[in-house]
């Protein structure tokens, strides 16, 4: 997969050629494609042919700005050559091509070719028409405050949004072509004056050396170039929100946009960047900090709560205070299964509900939630399949797992729970401690774009804590996070921000 791409060999010119022969060659090459339009004209006593694929181009504008000047060329009485033709057609960026392969690929991306018989090159213009949906609200990462717009499948629209968000000549959108069978435009986005050069170099190299037939989407490309593909943890941060994307870029990270993909990803990511949301910035700092800490707690609850229930009920029931133990005992009296079976059953039911809710149309999905949450839960308790305490436990951990702003990371958290439940059932509390320690070591070993995954916790960067674990008022965050090693750290002068004015000054 990581083989170096061979440089493309330049084709041999097929021109000059008779128009009939050209048509024959093209039709041979495009076997079974009736959409190649081939129209002949005679202008200034020379045979001219215009050819294109009709659904790939904008017909209205080609009529008006290409065919019309061509047909009316006789009026100005000049001799028709490539040069005079290019002069009289009011469309920008014409180019010429000689290679048949190049022409075929050009036709596919919406180029219109004009060939004047016996000339040495064919002239082409881009009239590409690309269908895309209009900009819509972000659905998977919706937030309450702040911009609601999300990326769409059109790369040019996405780049347009990013450019408007970061109006700086420093912003670089490096172009890459990825995929041999069906190449896709990929853009590496970063701030020239900020992004760490090593990171840019690493990313560039990974993109360049990727040797695959095609990439389906940005999320797929992300998996191809991540540090470790076998890993459960995502190592690059994927987002459909342009503001989140731009926020990461302006903090010195790199972003990647892919053609036909409504999401971009940013790197390097850390474990904690998946728990950050741009909404934390739009909130007051107290609320922002609260939400961030809430999400951390939610992550731990989601991972630990059900396993602890299983471990405590299977082995160490002495850790539960007597009062609660009595009510748990009462609610479990009619349950004939061991806690592990009970817990797995309910967790599985909840995953089913979630998956069904995600697949169904929105209106039915809501009904699903009600049916699942109330009816099945109540019925399961009454049928003696589970205890109602466990329903609370499982519901709480499921809710907690949905608080993560990144859907990808939320899935990771939900998956981690299952091995922990099984460990808890086999070994009790020590199984959970084992699992947690294993996860700690695992995340310690992880890298994202060659950078540690747990920064700023390890390597310890205490000064970055206010950008990651909580939020301070903006006059206290005058510096960028050191963890991503941007080229310069200062955002604004902290002296000016902290200036204290006297009364009535």
């Amino acid at each position: 997969m990581w083989k170096k791409q061979k440089p493309k060999n330049k084709g041999i010119s097929i021109f000059p050629i008779k128009i009939d022969t050209l048509e024959k060659i093209l039709i041979d090459k495009f076997e079974g494609n009736p959409d190649l339009k081939f129209s002949r004209y005679t202008v200034s006593n020379r045979n001219v042919v215009v050819f294109f694929i009709d659904y790939q181009i904008d017909m209205a504008s080609i009529q008006q700005s290409l065919l019309q000047p061509l047909v009316e060329f006789d009026k100005n009485g000049k001799k028709l050559t490539n040069e005079t033709l290019m002069n009289s057609i009011p469309v920008n960026s014409p180019s010429t091509s000689v290679d048949i392969e190049e022409i075929l690929n050009g036709l596919l991306i919406g180029k219109v070719y004009i060939y004047i018989e016996d000339e040495k090159t064919a002239v082409d213009y881009i009239f590409a028409k690309k269908e895309s949906r209009s900009l819509e609200k972000a659905e998977t990462e919706s937030i309450v405050l702040g911009p609601q717009i999300s990326f769409t499948e059109s790369l040019s629209k996405n780049m347009n949004i990013v450019r408007w968000l970061i109006k700086s000549p420093d912003l670089v959108l490096e172009e890459f072509k990825i995929g041999k069978v069906s190449p896709k435009d990929v853009r590496l986005v970063y701030m020239k004056s900020l992004a760490n050069d090593d990171d840019v170099q690493t990313m560039r190299q990974r993109l360049k050396e990727l040797d695959v037939d095609e990439v389906e989407d940005a999320i797929v490309l992300k998996q191809y170039i991540e540090d470790s593909q076998n890993n459960l943890f995502p190592q690059f941060d994927i987002t459909e929100r342009p503001d989140r994307f731009a926020y990461n870029i302006t903090k010195g990270k790199l972003g990647v946009l892919v053609e036909n993909s409504p999401s971009g990803f940013t790197a390097p990511a850390t474990l904690f960047s998946f728990l950050e949301s741009t909404e934390d910035l739009y909130m007051r700092w107290q609320a922002g900090s609260f939400l961030r800490i809430l999400r951390f707690v939610a992550m731990f609850i989601s991972i630990l709560l059900t396993p602890t229930y299983v471990a405590a009920l299977t082995y160490q029931y002495a850790i539960i205070p007597t009062q609660i133990l009595i009510s748990i005992g009462q609610s479990r009296v009619s349950v004939p299964f061991p806690p592990i079976f009970e817990a797995l059953l309910l967790e599985f039911l909840l995953e089913l509900l979630r998956e069904a809710g995600a697949r169904l149309p929105t209106k039915v999905g809501q009904t699903m939630g009600i049916v699942g949450g109330i009816v099945i839960g109540q019925a399961a308790v009454e049928a003696g399949l589970t205890s109602n305490i466990l329903i609370i436990v499982v519901a709480m951990s499921a809710l907690a797992s949905f608080t993560t702003p990144s859907y990808l990371f939320g899935t990771t958290i939900r998956l981690i729970r299952f091995p922990l439940i099984i460990l808890a059932a086999f070994f009790g509390l020590i199984g959970i401690v084992f699992g947690i320690t294993f996860l700690i070591i695992h995340t310690l070993r992880l890298k994202s774009l060659g950078r540690p995954y747990l920064v700023p916790l390890y390597p310890l960067q205490i000064k970055d804590f206010n950008k990651v674990f909580f939020r301070t008022p903006f006059n206290h965050s005058s510096k960028r996070a050191r963890s991503y090693r941007p080229k310069f750290i200062k955002r604004f002068s902290s002296k000016d921000a902290d200036q204290i004015r006297d009364i009535d000054e």
Partner: protein
């Protein structure tokens, strides 16, 4: 063997991690049982004995720094090779490696015993040791950065254990300390010596030293780490003396765990169960550092690849734990380690210092004459 080692920039660590390294490696299974041993020797004035131990260990660490400063960038093994030559150097280095190996075994066994005693009477040694070894191997294979990071993260995730001690502190009887200053000095010194098994481990400083990036800042974090672990031992011993009746403490094996037992919250009871399990996180850095030191040492001295050493040792330990079934066997091992580690860790650095100073002086004279 090269006396000085060059470490890749990616493998260097900042000096302040020494705080966590020194603290984590001193805290382990020892501190659970240490109050009893100190109390048996030094009685009510145990706290003085611990402070004496503090001063002495601080001196030892200072001596280690003096020795290390004499060289450009080396570790214990390099110094041995330089001072004693190839063969005797190898021999002494091997003694140290064996010391690490036996410490590893005793920690593994003691923790296994505690887990069996408190929670799982039926779980075989092998199962517990296997779980622990999995974690140790996974961490050590990550290299020095993961090893150090683990000690930092586990320090953070176990720090809350201190707060549970609020309950026994409230129940302490301060009269247990009176009358003060009745213990004779030899008894105090014996009491200080009893801390040797618990507080041993800081010799890792002489192994990890070449990996430190900013060496001129290394002293303070090392001493602070020592201070925190001495504080912990002091805290645990003081609470034990105040909490248990004077004669009772002499018969309590795992004083610290019993202390944790007395706390209870409205939503959690029997915290000692949780503490015993979470103690895995406390001993894990010990094991990881020791195994790392062994594999690194074997590579330095005998040029065996680290991975081979680690796999061989893992199999060895998983086999040998099955032969220890009784408390007295583990007790004997611990006593043995306590006895020789006193000479090896607390006395030997001074001897080494003398050798190093003589050698360096000779060398300087030699270069001046030339």
């Amino acid at each position: 063997m090269n006396i000085n080692v060059s470490i890749k920039p990616g493998n260097r660590i900042r000096a302040f991690y020494l705080f966590f390294i020194i603290f984590d490696i001193q805290m382990g299974v020892g501190v659970i049982g240490v109050p009893r041993f100190i109390y048996m020797e030094a009685g009510r004035d145990s706290w003085i004995a611990i402070l004496i131990a503090y001063l002495y260990i601080a001196l030892v660490i200072y001596v280690m720094f003096v020795i290390l400063k004499k060289y450009e960038n080396t570790d214990l093994f390099g110094i041995h090779a330089d001072i004693f030559g190839t063969w005797i150097g190898k021999l002494i280095s091997t003694i140290f490696i064996i010391h690490f190996g036996t410490s590893f075994l005793s920690i593994l066994l003691t923790y296994t015993e505690v887990v069996q005693l408190f929670a799982y009477h039926e779980l075989p040694n092998f199962a517990i040791a296997f779980l622990i070894m999995l974690l140790v191997l996974y961490a050590v294979f990550g290299g020095i950065r993961v090893v150090v990071g683990l000690s930092l993260l586990l320090f953070i995730s176990t720090f809350w254990l201190y707060f549970i001690l609020y309950d026994p502190i409230m129940r302490m009887d301060w009269h247990n300390f009176l009358p003060m200053f009745q213990t004779s000095i030899p008894e105090l010194l014996k009491g200080a010596k009893e801390t040797s098994y618990t507080l041993v481990g800081f010799e890792i400083l002489m192994i990890i030293y070449p990996f430190i990036a900013n060496k001129n800042k290394a002293k303070l974090p090392a001493f602070l780490g020592l201070t925190l672990s001495i504080f912990t031992v002091l805290l645990v011993t003081t609470i034990s003396i105040g909490y248990f009746a004077a004669e009772g403490l002499k018969h309590i094996d795992w004083a610290l765990l019993i202390l944790f037992k007395s706390a209870s919250l409205t939503f959690l009871e029997r915290l000692d169960y949780i503490v015993v399990m979470v103690w895995l996180m406390v001993i894990l850095p010990n094991l990881v550092f020791l195994l790392w030191a062994i594999s690194y040492g074997v590579k330095r001295v005998y040029k065996v690849p680290e991975k081979i050493t680690i796999w061989v040792l893992a199999i060895f330990y998983l086999t040998i734990v099955n032969f220890f079934h009784y408390d007295y066997q583990i007790g004997k091992l611990t006593d043995l380690i306590a006895r020789y580690s006193f000479w090896l860790i607390y006395v030997y650095p001074f001897i080494l210092l003398i050798f190093v100073l003589i050698k360096k002086r000779k060398r300087r004279q030699g270069s001046e004459e030339a």
